[in-house]
């Protein structure tokens, strides 16, 4: 299991090799594929992960604020996946000890979609999701 995670590139990032970039995961075209590439195919739904300062409706899909906070003990990574984007994986944040397991950023959304917060804690994976309605897509020409 651990070897698989190392191969997937998630475990190493930020520790052994800060410049690692998980091409397979970011190039994935579906949530299941991205989760597999992250080593998180068996993630369990958790009510200990919350979306903070994240809108129900985004008028502009080009700039959608996403905040994720994890209360799962030993959280050490948080990823953002947007189901209906051409490439669902948007970002992976590595949370070292001493840093709060919460992060805020802004993403692009092509259309109304479920957004997944994927958390790694103590070698296991958990997720929560939230639908964000987009009135104007963020990936058009």
């Amino acid at each position: 299991m651990y070897a698989g995670l190392v191969a997937a590139g998630w475990v190493r990032a930020g520790v052994a090799d800060a410049q690692a970039w998980n091409k397979d995961a970011f190039d994935s075209h579906a949530i299941a594929e991205a989760r597999k590439a992250l080593g998180a195919a068996d993630a369990a739904q958790s009510d200990q992960i919350s979306f903070v300062q994240t809108p129900e409706i985004a008028e502009n899909g080009a700039v959608v604020p996403i905040g994720i906070a994890s209360a799962v003990p030993k959280t050490d990574a948080i990823a953002v996946l947007i189901e209906k984007n051409p490439n669902p994986l948007a970002a992976v944040f590595e949370i070292p000890p001493g840093t709060e397991p919460a992060v805020s950023t802004r993403v692009k959304m092509a259309q109304t979609s479920n957004v997944y917060a994927l958390v790694r804690a103590d070698g296991r994976y958990y997720f929560a999701s939230k639908e964000i309605k987009v009135t104007l897509g963020g990936c058009g020409g």
Binding site: A20, N87, V92, T99, M109
Partner: protein, 103 residues
């Protein structure tokens, strides 16, 4: 050469809140120009933030992070006057590092 990042690091109790605004196109590779040709993807792939040489956040990003990326996070241990350094690297190999002082 890209524009400097705006980094604000504020002490709130015993927690340092870091807010970073970067200047980058974050081109998705999905859009086409007026001639109908695909505009190549151009985006930040890696970000790291350090406090006194200790990594306090690192990230891998894809093309879905919004133009002129924003990120905020909090860590324990910082004191006023300590330095926070943030570095990003994009898919063209361009790199930018900026520093702020905790206030």
């Amino acid at each position: 050469m890209s524009d400097p990042m705006k980094i604000r690091a504020s002490l709130i109790g015993d927690v340092t809140e870091v807010k970073v605004l970067m200047s980058h196109e974050m081109e998705t590779g999905q859009r086409k120009d007026a001639k109908g040709e695909v505009i190549p993807a151009w985006f930040i792939q890696n970000v790291s933030a350090t406090w006194n040489d200790k990594t306090v956040l690192s990230a891998q990003w894809g093309t879905a992070v919004a133009k002129n990326p924003f990120v905020s996070f909090r860590f324990k241990g910082g004191v006023k006057g300590d330095r926070i350094t943030v570095t990003w690297t994009d898919n063209r190999g361009d790199k930018r590092t900026d520093t702020a002082v905790i206030g």
